[in-house]
Symmetry: C2
Subunit: 210 residues, 2 copies
C-alpha cells in the first residue's frame, strides 16, 4: 500500500495538487470524504462536523490529548471528540489497504507507521490571495487584508491541531519528505514532477510498500 499525505497552507493549491496526483498515479483520493464519514459515524451533519473541525483543537487539551484520547473531561468537548473520530476514519482508510492520497487532517501524523510519502504545500501570500480570489464566493467582498487575516487564522488552527497531536512542527521541512512552493506554478504542470518524485520515493523505499 502506498499512501501520500498532503499538508498545506490554506489556498496554496494543495488540494488541487492532491486530486491531480491521485488521478495521475491512479490512487484513491480522500479529502472531504473524511468529513462525510465522520458525520455519518457520529450521526451529525457534515456542515456541523466541518465547522467544529475547522476550529482546530484548543490549546488547553494539548497534554491530555497526546497522552490519552479517552479522558472523559476532554472527550466531552466536541472538537476533541471529532478530531478523535477523524483519526479513526483515517486509520480505517489505511486498513483498507488501497493506494491513496489524503489531503490535510493530519494524516501524515496519524498514519506515520504506514510510512506515507509526506508533502507540505506552501505559497507566497500574494499567490494565496490570488488563488483565493479565483475560487471566490464571498471572498470577492473581502479586502486583501481581510483575506490574509482569514488565511492566517485557518493556518493557525491547522498548526495548533498538528502540534497538539504530534511532535511535528507544522510546515517545518524536516517533518516532511518534500516541501513544494506552488507560487508561480500552474498546478497541472506541477503535478508531473511531483508524481515522478513520489513514484521514485516508493520505488526506493521498500518499507513504504507494505
Amino acid at each position: 500500500m502506498k499512501i501520500i499525505t498532503i499538508s498545506r497552507e490554506f489556498s496554496s493549491g494543495g488540494r488541487e495538487l492532491g486530486r491531480r496526483l491521485a488521478d495521475t498515479l491512479g490512487f484513491d483520493y480522500y479529502d472531504r470524504e473524511i468529513i462525510s464519514r465522520v458525520a455519518e459515524n457520529e450521526g451529525m451533519s457534515e456542515r456541523y462536523v466541518e465547522s467544529i473541525l475547522e476550529k482546530g483543537l484548543p490549546q488547553s487539551v494539548s497534554i491530555t490529548f497526546r497522552h490519552s484520547f479517552s479522558t472523559p473531561l476532554v472527550m466531552e468537548q466536541p472538537q476533541t471528540k471529532l478530531v478523535h473520530a477523524q483519526c479513526e476514519v483515517i486509520r480505517s482508510i489505511a486498513r483498507a489497504g488501497r493506494d491513496c492520497v489524503i489531503v490535510g487532517r493530519n494524516a501524515d501524523v496519524i498514519l506515520k507507521e504506514e510510512h506515507p510519502f509526506t508533502i507540505f504545500v506552501c505559497a507566497s501570500d500574494e499567490a494565496k490571495i490570488r488563488r483565493c480570489r479565483e475560487r471566490a464566493t464571498d471572498g470577492e467582498r473581502l479586502s486583501d487584508k481581510e483575506l490574509m487575516k482569514n488565511m492566517r487564522r485557518i493556518d493557525k488552527n491547522r498548526r495548533n491541531t498538528c502540534e497538539i497531536i504530534s511532535d511535528i512542527a507544522w510546515g517545518d521541512a524536516h517533518c516532511y519528505d518534500l516541501v513544494v512552493n506552488t507560487t508561480d506554478w500552474d498546478i497541472k504542470e506541477l503535478t508531473v514532477p511531483v508524481a515522478e518524485y513520489a513514484r521514485r520515493w516508493f520505488d526506493t523505499h521498500p518499507k513504504a510498500k507494505h
Copy 2:
C-alpha cells in the same frame, strides 16, 4: 540561461545533489571553484579565503552591508570584503551565460534577477551525523554531540550571512522553489526526480530562460 541554486544545511547532501544534478542536466557546476576565483582575484590563499568566509558575516555589519557595499569602515573587515568579492564572482558566472548549478554562497539571493530555480536541502540530525561520519576525516574522533554543535555553528553562520545580505529567511520554504529532505534517500536516486522537477520548472517558466 538556466541557473539552479542549492542552499543547504551542513552535511545534508546538498553538494552531492548539486554535482549530480549538473551531471544529469549537462550544466556547469560551481562550488569550491568560487573560492578559488575569489582567492585568485584577491591574491590570497584558498585556505585563508575559505576560513574567513566560513565564519559568515558578523551581525554588526547588517544594516550597512545591505544598504551599501562600499562603506569604508565595513569594507575594511576581511569577512565583508570577501563576501563582497564572492558576490562579484557569482555575478560574473551568471554573465558568462551558461546553464549552471551553484551550490551555497547565497547565489539564490545574489542572482535573484536571473530567476534561478532555487532549492533548499535539509535532513534530520541523525541523517546529517551519519553523512558526516561517512565522509569523516577528523569527524571520527568527535562525539555526536560535538558533531551536532559544529553543524549548528556552521548553519548559524550560513543563516546569518543570508539574512544580512537579503530579506530571505534561510531555510523557510516560502523563500525557495523546492525544499528537499534527503533523510533516508540515496542522493543518486534522489537526483532523478529533482532533475525532472527542475526541467519542468524551466519548461514552464519562460522568464527563467533569458
